[in-house]
Subunit: 807 residues, 2 copies
């Protein structure tokens, strides 16, 4: 069942009913100010940090789901409703939400009145814009009352949920010329405030929640819109809100338009007050002036469109499969940009209060946006590497505001170092900027301990060699990519986090997955060393990789698939010898990516085992059989009910590794089938099962052992975005940057018969026309000339290169 | 305006409308299992720890206020409503909530059907009982569908608000014989589960929230009660709930009754499962069997009544002022027991996730319940003293489950040590148990560092002497009683807690308030030393007190009142020399209690200044004039808007110190007037202004500088309860325990002309009949004989002593 459709030309998803199976959201903002907005106008916005600078309140885990947001209420002759359906839930003659690139437009029509609200955050502006258009679609004049509503939060979202002894006493506002200023806590150590204004005269306002809603009322019972008049309330403690009242007289067919601005402002410490107790509002007035006319607003909206059109031009495909095209050209890249902006902080599943920037997450996210914003990727690499320790290990997370490592979580996730090499290699392949390797980068944010980025990579490379176990495989530490496989830090204390409990020493827990990563990523380190003229280091690295491949062959093979790990006691994990958890997905994908078993049949055998034991129509599960009993020595993984999360759920993040592995062994049909299983556009028709947005990936889908097999959770903020984009763009469509040229090596199902990829890189454009019959090993021509191999050399900036590939 | 009335005979407050100005709640439970229940059935319950063992979900700061709780829905021929009014908000023909001692009974009647729900936690049972009675009050037969509803929480309430990546995947239940078992996380390191059962056959059940409510619906839109049929849903992840469906056929006038049991159970680690994946439910079945018949439930309810009748017999008054009687005999003592049970953890203002047991809080709370449960007071004293450090300082808070000090908050609140002396002295006066002073008590919970409790008191006594400043006054540390006067740990970092930021060293910030405390409490230390035969120590202590009185006289007097403090820079706080914050309440009360200025007129002058500058009809404000500008060097206090909280709000906790001081100087009318200003029963008629419950104290009332002057916040969990009980029982009514006898020294307004206090102490009963004409200095007779002074010697256990006092 569908609840909307794609509008590819407009780069929008169009939701045509409020009754989606879950709130379907979008993100506003591209620089420092961001908003989350659902298809019924739920959500919140913040400046930089969703915990410390949240402007509006949002209640997770609420009844009803997704209550609260930016609500525009209409009183049309006593009939009170909202174009966003919620909160009134009045039937609409027409409902439509268009989620586009950095904006959403919600339109409702009822009783001969159309109301449309465009939400966006302009480029480089710290404000949400709510442009409201009212149109009288009836044949009689109308006098309409319009009420805005947002609920201010106290700006530390965690405190907002816990400290009522303080928070109910501090709320303060000012109202001036129809603009509502939220000034809570401004008097003390803060120098920021919020404003909610509108570019039209107001008939009244409210800033006290109880005055607007009526004490004890639900959103849909709000007394002010029902009475048709604001009370001009001034909040004193309790719950400051902002609501404007506007009156519109509309002839038949007539439209009117208002621009509401919800902004964040800062003042200098010595310029906080314009009079004792009166906030200096000059910055806010300047902001409001930028949106004084609706034409100014339109111009800012056009500028946002240009920003996104420009971004999305780096990689496009044109094929006969519109689902493929919309994933590649629009939504997968868009999601990659959102993960760049948000990391794992604020979504409808992540509260914005918890996780910082992950070393591992950020390094992988980078793979998905390096071609879009290479200069920002460079900055991100330096930030990440700065949280590395001298021994090559790294803080697992760092704080976005301070860019300092998170001591509470610490280090000891032994896959972390290798991801840095992968990210840096991707950046250099994209840009040719080898100079980044000479950048001096601190360890542990300590400038006195700075070393070249290349030295950082060396320590990353050496880390799994130095932390190797009895089988010559890398020690796993607290966990590797699988956060819930905690082989050294399981705990029997209820409620204690597995990941942060003490990391046991003297253990022998080894990760076959990290070994696979080492073999896949190590060659890039060797290549970088060679290109810097350090042939000895390159050969040392290549020998280490070869040794690791041998160690996996000798000690990481279970007979039909790769083992997952050895536990703290030296027992195998992921073996046919145990009842549950016999085969795990991660090493099957990454060991093949690491070139292990390509010659002796292990690679194909492992992938056949995946197909036989792990694959489902909804994606490839993480392990099989699901654990039905609790095994504390494995850590968190077995704490989940069968089929959910790491206990045999479908992790959309690691499916791509299997897909890439299938392209490596040349099985185009398998790869293509696996891709389509989890790609959201292909799941649109089963939205009632999938539940989360059909335009972006979710982190996970319930596995075959779960009651709710096929149901997705945790959409938007997941490394799934970047890995699937890498997979489809670089391996299925087969166009990937390398050091000296663009590799063109498609391996995609025969049903995608012909397609054209346009790739802008290093200032040139490549137009690659592929004639595909499935399989692998394309014959290439470049500007009409046949070439050997699969590498199209980089052309001079400004040139356009025409490539044909025939598979 | 009133929203109900007191029923003193039943010891109940009767709320007669759902439309109170705030949720008016009650507490269930007396041992380890507790519930909070509002007059419209909102709230939640927990076992011991409201953060780690919360059974049901509750949303603070919600729209609508107080949505969610234990809801019973009735479908009477298609008319769906609830006796608790919420969530349906259907008009009721009759509504009544009776909050009693450890129970609440909510009754609603509509369309000829009466539904009444009795909520209580039986003594020594880890369960909430919901006894539902349906009565057909119409003259026609009725077929009624009844649906229960509670929403399970994941038992770590903080995680429940933040970790959706995990929590939405782990929900599990079992249903067996009509009982619903919540088993989420049981599979892993927990061995506890919850059950919700009923003693009658069910027609169906639901355990999945979306199935019960319908996805996206509000509580009042729940599809199951509206459809009249359960769906027998079994939750798998997302939101486990419990709902039963019962069918009742009722002839005119007929009643039926059901007992629902919501319980907490634990199993031994090696006895968790009755079959693979099936929880061992033996303990739950045993619990349900205790409530298999409604007669069993009635018997348990009767037992609860006896428990409270017994508790409240220790101190009673009978006067012509029913408000005075109900405060003293019922509600103030009840609130003291609640503060004993809850400390500051779980109320409608405290989320149950944050604050542990306070060293200072608990020591003062003890003053209010030591006469009710002396054996528990003894245990509490040992717990508190065990968190003291060897230098006399103390952890400011400790964890209730582990009884260990809270490292995050640490120590350095320099009033803390003295409160321990006050609590121990109160305990010994009540019980005569001097042996407690010989108990070996650890420092910092380290048994190897144990010393006698008397040694702990010595270190408490010496602490302010050793930590004295340049004026010979005690250093204040992070803060004294006033949490927001942070003279050594103010911070300019936005969002950083004043209380926990680094405690600056080398400062000279001194507290006149702690000096007053020392002078008031020090004599008790001297008395204890003397009674143990250590005359030298007694004299040393008395000299130190005398010296401190002199230091206050020399350096703590501003001319018309006592100074509050010296700040970090040595500047005076609470002086006429500054624009704002000229006079503070705390030292005025406590210095007089400490005997300072009684002879030279300073005491009366200070109290006159309080009356002139701080008193209002709603109570005495904390300081005046309110600070209108931010002073970082004073800490948090000036961060509040004028009139709120510590910035010139009315703190009901410190008003009693002024009242006691007024009795010390013999001004009965002032004392009595101040008492009535804040005592909730006297504010019942202005409930629309006061807003919180008229039967218990709130922590604070907005002061005269606030927009909402007279509005209370933070009801229930406040040291206000114990201090007001101490004040009214020991100083106004004037009956207080001393080491050798009962002091009878009333000082109460003349309008309370005659009254009788009955006091049970040390096994004897004292019947004290007072004839009062205001003023002070009663003439006493004991069993008909005149005695000198005010001390009635303790009589032999079992005896009844008749005392008359004439003022």
């Amino acid at each position: 069942m569908q609840f909307g459709h794609f509008d590819d030309e407009a780069r929008e998803y169009v939701i045509t009913t409020p009754h989606t199976p879950y709130p379907w959201i979008n993100y506003l903002g591209s620089q420092e100010f961001f908003g989350l907005v659902s298809h019924t106008a739920g959500g919140y916005c913040f400046y930089r940090d969703a915990k410390m600078r949240r402007l509006t309140r949002y209640r997770y885990n609420n009844i009803p789901v997704d209550d609260g947001g930016r609500y525009f209420s209409i009183n049309d002759g006593g009939d009170v409703w909202s174009p966003s359906y919620r909160p009134y839930k009045k039937d609409l003659d027409r409902f439509e939400t268009r989620h586009g690139m950095g904006y959403s437009r919600i339109t409702g029509e009822r009783g001969g009145l159309e109301a449309s609200v465009l939400f966006f955050v302009p480029v480089d502006v710290n404000a949400e814009i709510h442009q409201v258009t009212l149109t009288n679609t009836s044949d009689a004049p109308k006098s309409v009352d319009l009420f805005s509503f947002i609920e201010f939060c106290l700006w530390n979202a965690e405190d907002d949920q816990t400290n009522y002894q303080r928070n109910l006493s501090i709320g303060e506002v000012e109202v001036e010329d129809g603009a509502i200023f939220h000034t809570t806590e401004y008097r003390e150590r803060r120098n920021h405030y919020a404003v909610y204004g509108v570019n039209a005269p107001i008939a009244g306002f409210d800033t006290d929640r109880d005055a607007y809603l009526g004490y004890g009322n639900r959103f849909d019972e709000a007394v002010v819109p029902h009475s048709g008049a604001s009370t001009n309330s001034v909040a004193s403690g309790w719950y400051p809100i902002a609501s404007h009242h506007l009156k519109a007289d509309l002839a038949p067919g007539e439209s009117t338009q208002y621009t509401f601005v919800l902004g964040y402002l800062e003042n200098a410490e010595d310029d906080k007050w314009e009079a004792p107790g009166v906030v200096n509002k000059a910055a806010a007035k300047e902001l409001l002036a930028r949106f004084a006319s609706n034409e100014q607003t339109d111009a800012e909206f056009a500028r946002l469109g240009e920003y996104w059109a420009n971004l999305l031009g780096s990689y496009t495909v044109s094929s006969t499969d519109s689902k493929l095209d919309r994933m590649v050209n629009i939504w997968n890249q868009y999601q990659c940009m959102v993960t760049y902006n948000m990391s794992r902080s604020a979504s409808y599943f992540e509260t914005g209060m918890g996780r910082g920037m992950g070393f591992r997450d950020s390094s992988q996210d980078l793979l998905g946006f390096v071609h879009l914003v290479p200069e920002r990727a460079r900055e991100r690499i330096i930030d990440i590497a700065s949280t590395q320790f001298e021994d090559g290990s790294a803080y697992h997370q760092y704080q976005p505001l301070t860019k300092r490592g998170n001591h509470a979580l610490g280090s000891g996730f032994n896959d972390d170092p290798l991801w840095l090499i992968l990210g840096v290699a991707a950046y250099i392949k994209e840009t040719g900027d080898f100079a980044i390797l000479d950048e001096m980068v601190p360890f542990d944010n300590d400038e006195s301990k700075a070393a070249s980025l290349m030295e950082h990579l060396k320590r990353s490379f050496d880390h799994p060699l130095e932390k190797a176990g009895p089988h010559g495989l890398p020690l796993i530490g607290r966990a590797d990519w699988n956060d819930c496989l905690n082989l050294n830090c399981f705990s029997t204390t209820p409620g204690e986090s597995f990941q942060t409990t003490g990391n046991k020493t003297g253990g022998v827990a080894e990760s076959v997955f990290i070994a696979g990563m080492f073999c896949a990523i190590g060659p890039d380190y060797a290549a970088l060393a060679r290109r810097r003229g350090d042939e000895a280091e390159a050969q040392r690295a290549e020998k280490a990789v070869a040794d690791m491949r041998q160690a996996v062959t000798d000690h990481g093979w279970d007979g039909e698939w790769f083992l997952r790990a050895y536990d703290y006691y030296g027992n195998k994990v992921g073996t046919h010898e145990t009842k549950d958890g016999q085969i795990w997905i991660e090493p099957q994908g990454y060991c093949v990516m690491g070139g292990i078993g390509l010659e002796d049949g292990k690679a194909v055998a492992a992938l056949d085992s995946v197909r036989e034991r792990l694959n489902t129509p909804h994606g490839i599960v993480l392990l099989n059989p699901a654990y039905t009993e609790y095994h504390v020595e494995l850590g968190e993984v077995t704490s989940y009910p069968p089929g959910y999360k790491e206990n045999a759920g479908i992790f959309c993040h690691n499916n791509p590794w299997v897909i890439i592995a299938e392209t490596i062994v040349g099985r185009a049909e398998n790869a293509w089938e696996y891709y389509k299983q989890i790609a959201p556009a292909y799941r649109e028709e089963i939205s009632e099962v999938h539940r989360t947005e059909p335009y972006v990936y979710a982190q996970m889908i319930a596995g075959k052992d779960a009651e709710r097999h096929g149901e997705a959770k945790n959409s938007w903020l997941t490394g799934t975005a970047s890995w699937n984009f890498v997979t489809v763009s670089q391996y299925l469509l087969g166009v990937r940057a390398d050091y000296d040229g663009l590799v063109v090596d498609p391996c995609i199902g025969a049903e995608v018969g012909e397609f054209t990829v346009r790739r802008q890189i290093r200032g040139a454009e490549y137009v690659i026309t592929v004639t595909n019959s499935g399989g692998k090993g394309a014959a290439l021509t470049v500007d009409g000339e046949s070439i050997d191999g699969s590498v199209v050399p980089y052309a001079a900036p400004g040139s356009t290169v025409h490539v044909t590939a025939t598979v």
